[in-house]
């Protein structure tokens, strides 16, 4: 029965209270461990299309009579458009429409000012370059601390529990440090882009590289005042998003406006350089942290001020979240500020806030453990919390202690690793814990259609951002239907061809959509068994689906197509929806990573040699795809830690790093050995699957684990990302000075 509930919905750590219609989830979870298909490695359903270059991305879409858009972007970080002369652009051959000004006040370098649609991209670019803008250039605001003082804020949040002053008074040891993280860019391989086509004046089709076709549909329908069903959003394949493609973006509205004006389809695609200016970022942070503990290792107080360099727009990601949630500390106080600056707006980026906050917190914890002379792993065990530290709620499941147990052999390598230091190359091992969301939630819907040939199609208007969504969904349906996964197809990526499904963000794909797919397959299976019971005159309760057959517990067995074949061209249609999350429980993911590094103490070069990742995300659907997610997260984390950084001109606020040679992402040559271990125990309270999400957790602890390994190797406290040679040498110098002070200090 459909039930209306008022519930907390969480995406990327942001909670909203809303009404949701859910169907009760009546299926019992499958037993733990690998099943016939679920829990076993599966190749990507669409792997061949991707590998053979047949997958059609938005970038490949070429509609008849399609025009191309070029966008004129602001060369200034902060300015007012005093005057705009579009006429020179209109006179360029091939130009069919010009738009502008798109805004009056420019808030960051690269913000769109005007746009042109022309027959070719070259003509559109030539025309955009002819547009004359009269600027009133304003002072940029680039200092996040200054913005906080001026209360130029995009969000602020304070949380306090217990009594922090008392907690510090009870501490035997207190550490205090300032950590900084840099602005990093998603730089998906396919840039942000959309193709828009109007029909009949009031129907719009949007082909777009997106993580959320339903979100785009809603925003576009809202913007143009259209019934949502008049907006069709299509995203069959998309070339990466990482949080930056959760909404339509102005390129979609530029394409749609130009398409409406010209009566022709228009493509608006960001260039790589525009992608580095105007597609979102993981905002920089400043974290001023303090922690106190008793000599037995009990944390008595945690305090943090977190300043996010949010930018011209965006939202306040929870950099203080890990400090609030990771440890069972009674006295915690956090204050988060989102600084409004004249820089590109932040967007969600793979565990926004928690990646940054875990770097600060988990480095601080290691500095504290070092001061107490305690083993960092043991310190973390002693402060483990078996219930939610924020509000005392029980966890739906938590296997962090098991993660720690499985981390022990990797951790125990450190003596041997340190002993392999030679010459300037010092080696060490460090660790960091991970806490993050990833429980997903309702609503999400799926249909499972079975034809006469006993093949099944999972139909859902989900998108696959490259995580292997289609494959995991096929595995879940195949398991429920007793079919080999080869008998399954998955239809997704089109809002006009299937029911609503979740955003591909917040590690929510498998936990949100997976249970709906299983429910749809179970509904189809029930119908097959009902028909079979009548056809073969057997009691339905004796029947089940196994190995592509209908099997009776009293011995009979029929191939599935003996029943489905009766349908001829008709089909069985099963429907399924995602049930509610367990009430009164906190659903989170956990893990730990152990990094091994080598540091050249003469040049400051850091090499990450090995990372062991142990994560608890409930039941694993596809261990092969899951290991790829873990590796991908760690490799992005590696870039975040060592090489990636958006650099600004400190005087003008313009972006200096606009290309992929100046913005340095990891290559295959930077690859450490990566060992992935997943606990793979279903969360008994969470849905009919017991699965949580895995997209984000692996990037959360990587930078802190590496920084802590650097401390283990060299004694140096790196406190700023990226750990460039400059930062590494600074930390080494500081450590040397500290040691010589200690040696020089009088005894006593």
């Amino acid at each position: 029965m459909a039930r209306l509930i008022r519930t907390e919905k969480e995406v990327e750590g942001r909670y909203t209270e809303q009404w949701i219609v859910v169907e009760e989830d009546t299926l019992k979870q499958w037993p733990e461990g690998p099943l016939e298909t679920v829990g076993r490695p599966a190749q990507r359903l669409d792997g061949l299309q991707r590998a053979r270059g047949e997958a059609r991305y938005t970038a490949d879409i070429q509609l008849p009579a399609m025009l191309h858009a070029a966008v004129l972007r602001s060369p200034h970080a902060h300015a007012r458009v005093k005057g705009l002369d579009l006429e020179p652009a209109r006179n360029v051959p091939g130009v069919r429409a010009v738009l502008g000004p798109l805004t009056e006040e420019i808030g960051y370098h690269g913000q769109a000012v005007a746009a042109v649609a022309a027959e070719t991209l070259e003509e559109a670019r030539a025309a955009a370059a002819q547009i004359r803008v009269e600027w009133d250039v304003l002072e940029p605001r680039l200092d996040p601390d200054e913005a906080v003082v001026l209360t130029e804020l995009i969000g602020r949040r304070t949380e306090e529990r217990g009594d922090v002053e008392r907690g510090f008074a009870e501490a035997d040891v207190i550490v205090e440090a300032e950590y900084r993280t840099q602005t990093v860019l998603h730089n998906s391989m396919e840039t942000h882009q959309a193709v828009c086509e109007w029909e009949a004046g009031d129907r719009l089709t949007v082909y777009i590289s997106t993580q959320y076709i339903w979100g785009v549909r809603e925003d576009v329908a809202d913007h143009y005042g259209l019934p949502p069903d008049h907006v069709r959003v299509v995203c069959r394949f998309m070339g990466g998003g990482f949080g930056s493609k959760n909404g339509p973006g102005d390129y979609t509205f530029i394409a749609a406006d130009l398409a409406r004006e010209t009566g022709r389809p228009v493509k608006c695609a960001l260039t790589r350089r525009a992608e580095n200016l105007d597609s979102g970022n993981r905002n920089a942070t400043i974290q001023r942290l303090r922690a106190g503990a008793r000599s037995d290792g009990t944390l008595t107080a945690l305090e943090g001020e977190f300043v996010n360099a949010t930018g011209w727009d965006g939202w306040l990601s929870s950099t203080g979240g890990p400090m609030e949630m990771l440890y069972g500390c009674e006295n915690v106080s956090i204050a988060e500020y989102g600084a409004k600056l004249t820089t590109g707006p932040m967007k969600a980026f793979r565990a926004p806030g928690f990646v940054e906050g875990t770097f600060g917190l988990e480095c601080l914890i290691d500095e504290l453990a070092a001061k107490l002379g305690l083993d960092p792993l043991e310190f973390r065990r002693r402060n483990h919390s078996d219930h939610d530290a924020v509000d005392g709620r029980p966890f739906s499941s938590k296997n962090l202690l098991e993660c720690y147990r499985r981390a022990q052999p990797h951790w125990d390598r450190r003596e041997e690793v340190r002993a392999r230091s030679e010459g300037p190359w010092q080696r060490g091992v460090g660790m960091a814990s991970q806490i993050w969301y990833g429980g997903g939630g309702p609503p999400s819907y799926a249909w499972v259609r079975i034809g006469a040939d006993a093949r099944a199609v999972v139909i859902t208007a989900m998108q696959d951002i490259g995580t292997g969504t289609a494959t995991a969904m096929a595995q879940i349906a195949a398991e429920e239907l007793g079919l080999p996964v080869e008998s399954l197809d998955v239809s997704l990526g089109d809002s006009a061809r299937g029911p609503y499904a979740t955003i591909s963000a917040g590690s929510s794909t498998v936990p949100s959509l997976g249970p709906a797919v299983r429910a749809a397959a179970a509904d189809a299976a029930r119908q097959i068994l009902e028909i079979a019971a009548q056809r073969f005159e057997v009691e339905q309760r004796l029947l089940s689906l196994r190995g592509g057959r209908i099997v009776s517990s009293d011995g009979g067995s029929w191939s599935l197509d003996e029943v489905t074949g009766l349908l001829e061209s008709a089909q069985i249609l099963g429907k399924g929806s995602r049930g509610p999350n367990p009430t009164g429980m906190r659903v989170l993911t956990f893990g730990v990573q152990v990094a091994q590094v080598a540091v050249d103490v003469e040049t400051g070069e850091v090499r990450v040699e090995r990372i062991a990742a142990i994560h608890d995300v409930g039941r694993v659907i596809n261990p092969l795809g899951a290991s790829s997610q873990v590796e991908g997260g760690i490799i992005q984390g590696l870039g975040h830690t060592l090489s990636e950084q958006r650099l600004l001109d400190p005087n003008t606020g313009t972006v200096l790093t606009q290309t992929l040679d100046s913005y340095r992402m990891p290559t295959i040559a930077d690859l450490p050995e990566i060992v992935t271990e997943l606990i793979d125990v279903p969360d008994e309270h969470l849905t009919n699957l017991g699965s949580k999400g895995l997209g984000e957790p692996p990037i959360v602890p990587t930078s802190a684990a590496i920084a802590n390994a650097i401390r283990d190797a060299t004694g140096a406290d790196v406190r700023s990302l990226p750990i460039t040679r400059e930062e590494m040498l600074r930390a080494l110098r500081e450590a040397r000075e500290r040691r010589s002070e200690r040696v020089g200090a009088p005894a006593g």
Partner: protein
């Protein structure tokens, strides 16, 4: 009028002097397996082979190709590397994958049993933002299995 030999087929096309090979392949010949991700030679997504040598088609002017044979991902669809990439899960979003495979095909043609070092050296010009590198290395190391 320009003649171009792509994957064993001759094409005649009319292209302005500043047309890149990537644009000609994608826009004129409809061979969209070749991807453009940066369009300035930094990422490797547009890699094709000219007489078996990997080149960045976004930086190659189509008029400079002349008699050299162009091999794109469409010409490598039966290459054992395709299966190897799928088997190893060496593709996530897949946007860089064609370029990776074109580079890898040139690598294994010159060196059928590349070491890990050689794979990393040969493939370092192909960026994958999803971080499929461990699986790419595995796919290339096991391409003949």
């Amino acid at each position: 009028m320009l003649e171009l030999s792509v994957n064993g087929q001759r094409h005649a096309l009319d292209a302005p002097a500043d047309t890149s090979l990537a644009e000609a392949l994608r826009d004129e010949l409809g061979l969209t397996g070749t991807k453009i991700a940066c369009n300035e030679g930094h990422c490797g997504a547009c890699t094709v082979q000219l007489d078996g040598i990997p080149v960045l088609s976004c930086l190659t002017l189509v008029h400079t190709v002349r008699e050299r044979e162009v091999t794109t991902i469409e010409g490598l669809r039966d290459h054992p590397l395709i299966e190897a990439f799928v088997r190893a899960d060496a593709t996530q979003c897949g946007f860089c994958t064609p370029g990776q495979i074109v580079s890898a095909a040139a690598l294994v043609a010159a060196n059928p049993s590349p070491s890990s070092e050689e794979i990393r050296h040969g493939m370092a010009g192909n960026i994958c933002r999803c971080g499929t590198y461990p699986k790419i290395e595995e796919a290339i190391a096991s391409w003949r299995d």
